[in-house]
Symmetry: C2
Subunit: 694 residues, 2 copies
Amino acid sequence: MLLRGRPRTLGAAALLLLLLLGFFLFGGDPDYGRPRSQGAATFDGDPPADPRGHNRSDCIPPPPPPPKCELLQVAIVCAGHNSSRDVITLVKSLLFYRKNPLHLHLVTDAVARNILETLFHTWMVPAVQISFYNADELKPQVSWIPNKHYSGLYGLMKLVLPSALPPDLARVIVLDTDVTFASNIAELWALFAHFSDKQAIGLVENQSDWYLGNLWRNHRPWPALGRGFNTGVILLRLDRLRQAGWEHMWKLTATRELLTLPATSLADQDIFNAVIKEHPWLVQPLPCMWNVQLSDHTLAERCYSEAPDLKVIHWNSPKKLHVKNKHVESFRNLYLTFLEYDGNLLRRELFGCPCPPPPGAEQLQQALAQLEEQDACFEFRQQQLTVHRVHITFLPHKPPPPQPHDVTLVAQLSMERLQMLEALCRHWPGPMSLALYLTDTEAQQFLRFVETSAVLSARQDVAYHVVYREGSLYPINQLRNVALAQALTPYVFLSDIDFLPAYSLYDYLRASIEQLELDGRRKAALVVPAFETLHYRFSFPSSKAELLTLLDAGSLYTFRYHEWPQGHAPTDYARWREAQAPYRVQWAADYEPYVVVPRDCPRYDPRFVGFGWNKVAHIIELDAQEYELLVLPEAFTIHLPHAPSLDITRFRSNPTYRDCVRALKDEFHQDLSRHYGAAALKYLTALQQPRGPA
Amino acid sequence: MLLRGRPRTLGAAALLLLLLLGFFLFGGDPDYGRPRSQGAATFDGDPPADPRGHNRSDCIPPPPPPPKCELLQVAIVCAGHNSSRDVITLVKSLLFYRKNPLHLHLVTDAVARNILETLFHTWMVPAVQISFYNADELKPQVSWIPNKHYSGLYGLMKLVLPSALPPDLARVIVLDTDVTFASNIAELWALFAHFSDKQAIGLVENQSDWYLGNLWRNHRPWPALGRGFNTGVILLRLDRLRQAGWEHMWKLTATRELLTLPATSLADQDIFNAVIKEHPWLVQPLPCMWNVQLSDHTLAERCYSEAPDLKVIHWNSPKKLHVKNKHVESFRNLYLTFLEYDGNLLRRELFGCPCPPPPGAEQLQQALAQLEEQDACFEFRQQQLTVHRVHITFLPHKPPPPQPHDVTLVAQLSMERLQMLEALCRHWPGPMSLALYLTDTEAQQFLRFVETSAVLSARQDVAYHVVYREGSLYPINQLRNVALAQALTPYVFLSDIDFLPAYSLYDYLRASIEQLELDGRRKAALVVPAFETLHYRFSFPSSKAELLTLLDAGSLYTFRYHEWPQGHAPTDYARWREAQAPYRVQWAADYEPYVVVPRDCPRYDPRFVGFGWNKVAHIIELDAQEYELLVLPEAFTIHLPHAPSLDITRFRSNPTYRDCVRALKDEFHQDLSRHYGAAALKYLTALQQPRGPA
């Protein structure tokens, strides 16, 4: 109708414009979107059964992207500590470029679920929904398949997604944990529009000669269409697969192939390819740049040097970033971009998309909005409210076997105390739960630090929990609480990172707990007396007797003897010298001993950030809850010297800082009175006589 | 011709496809690419003289991007230390998304040129050319215009680009230093294709009511077409402007307006708008998302909440990131992404574009390729070859006035020693040149640290040079050389960051240099005796007498008395106690005193990375070049305690590390023999008697 007036000229003009647009869409590269020369060679020996279906996708321009606020669905299988780290990098790249709301479907084992649940809960990225699916429940469906691929059993789980994901979920993009996005996933989602009526699986051709079966003598790959397809990135029409009887289909093929082949070499990919070889109408080939495969002998260069744009890179070699490839440096830089990217910065709204805010986000916004910027303690209050992104068990960790008197050492640190870890491991052979306050970049430095340390990498009972930095004040008590919450033994030794415990302390504490019959019968905090050395080369005493000799020689002091004696005076060092049995001491103002308590002890008060009063408040809380304070006669721990932290430097030089700590203390006491009534009066009375910097 | 066969159906099909493509291009938003509702209101009172020209650009879809490897031209005016930092963030965002080779035309004052020349030279980003233009030479062309805008005179320089840039440069994108890219600049470059035959200036409409003149009573803005245009992002057809007599045109308009208006309020933007109001055919309006303006009362939300995509954000408020805007948090996160982005990761090749490598890149590649990964010292050799990105004078700095005996304190540090800076400033009132080894993120933390420190922000004579981290070993001597090269006084005091000099040292050194008549007549290194305290709270001696008392009391030691006495023994502390005049000492093995030397002294040997032998080698070099070693009787400096660095920890625990330091020492001695012949024999002989960890 519109054409009626001057069809011919309009037609010509439209065609011209089309050519122009085509030029735009293909970036001036007539091959864009098509399999490369490599692609042409693919089906040499083995032409696809439905070449029309295959070729069609090559010439059609990219379809329109999904509507601005359409929810895109993504599924990822992830198990264990290391894959969880990989998934986070993948998700960071995904979130960086996305403009649409996302729903992530995560098929995880218990370890990955624990990590990722905490992570996403604390990450609070707008417009991202997360659903978890129990991988262990899916295991029986694939565990019968012998498999040699490094991804193990979990590599096979992509096969069961049509039944594992919700029945009303029709389309999903399935990603391996080792891919990195370099573009907006909506462009990939848009390729669903290319599918013909029957096609159900979108895949990029394999960028190696593996399936051609000529890599070495007697190389017998699984059957595939020509060069085969790579399953690192899959567009799945779940609805069609269910309708086509997918489960039956792949099991039949796999069973048949396993009659002649001993095992899958490439996990799910072998089976996907075998099914596709049998039912080629299922597959919609995708443009190569949506899965640029960087394995050792990759043919990907043909793809990325011609395409105007890289879309997704895939580290599909067991060597990952150490793969040999002449351009690997450039790809690695893209990967490192997201590995080291500050995930907090992804808390960006999608303008114009009405999405429900992440849980807790609204309350947080309100609380933040109520703060007054004029308040001298604004920075403190803002820091207290900050929800830090938390990555628990950042490195592989084996929980300690359940033992009734076991003790976990709990501490927190930042980058500048990393060099304490080796010594600490030598002094404490038991389980530890450590919170590390790091940037994303520092977390990677930390990872390398552990990997290159023989001492640290030998320990599987040390759990490292990364709390990502945000704000200007060190959230010391929030960090302690993260480490404390992750301790898995019945007792915890609440220490600080710049202390080294006596070599015998771990054993001695467990024996003491048993002897004192603390389990349930007695509510006590065991005090570990604290000392300090001022020499940073120092020979650690192997016994109490040796310690006392050093003390008398002036090589050791009781902790903060010069600057802040009241912090430890109630421990009564004079009595400790002679003591043969545990003795009870009374709380006094500013007392902040290092103690062993049951895991369910009160948490630290998160209002204390930066330097000042953070432990003192916790000991008050213990005393208010009527914990006995019992000093152990053979226990000791020694503080090593270090330069003052930035926070302590700020505290000393800034009167506002001190005023704020005082204001926080006052508020703490008010809360204490509210909670414990008259019993809390003694703490307030003690406070009336200020005696030190806190 | 092609159409002849079946024009009608083909025309219809083409139109259908066009609609489909249109949907794709406009993201399903029929308003995309057009001025928003706000745009419709723009010309209410003041319709453009050439509405056809204006409207045409609204309905034409984005043109094809430039060919894959086309060189894109960008011009930026930049002056001073702070703007240089801003430009780097802008350039990082530009490089992150670009896929084309770029030529940056930087119009700079001497300060910015010095900074940016060093930066780009050491950055070595592939496919980026840089040209500098002297802003000071252009000043007379704009300095006659009275201007109230915060950008000052430099804000006006965009007006003279057609004559300042090379005459054969036809097109350029001009950017303010306060914009951030969120997309590929090639898409912006492609908009040149929208220009009609006469149009020469592409601009986004102003996103505030400023030019409507109704913001307050008696608000008299410069004349503009409706809401006017913002000049933070400009597409300039330089060829057409030159042809149209641009210089004459804008000067005429400006002169005329200045008859009735007292000064420009918005610098160049007022004049651009006045010229455009007079010659509306010059302007091609650009889609709003190419310059999303985040000033205080911005109307930008209309733009960014409808557009599918943000392209460029513009912090066009003097408050910059502290501007009040309900979505500022999200924009800030995008900005922080690039502020904190590791610039090293932008050393990414453009696959498939033949570009000449950056200067030095090929030699570097060859040298790196010759290293053997099997070599136990591979990491050391790789670190030595690393070209670190260097940002000299990261913060505002005023060079010291030339004085013949002035001394600059030279040192290097990383984040963990930042807290030393305030104390150092109190102890050394003279000029300092400090190299800081930081990540991009840490550089921002450092900036905030200085800004919030009253002591540090009061000092303009401390030059901070950021050397960006790369590799696992601390490049200590490269850092020292950067700091040394930037010292501007005739003498330098080569110190370390964990030392505090005597309060009187700066004055005393200048007096000594004068007295000893060092200028030219005598080749000497003045030794400043070094001591150490083991207490981190410590009252600093105010005189040599007080220092000796502390020494006798055991509160102070000579430096490394316990661990490495040979490092300072040749200083002869016993003699120093009594000395009243400078005395000469002889070199001995492992001597590493802190010295004052002329600025043109030998550089440190960059092969020594990490811990070990880095200063020792430098003192050998001084001795080999026959510098007299003169100990100053009243000079002293004191080392404060700190935890051992990660490098020293590695050194102690790793035998390979020690072997490599030994190998480097051997190579150093071989070079020494080659250079100094028989005279170097004594160093080798001394080496035969190994006495310590180095």
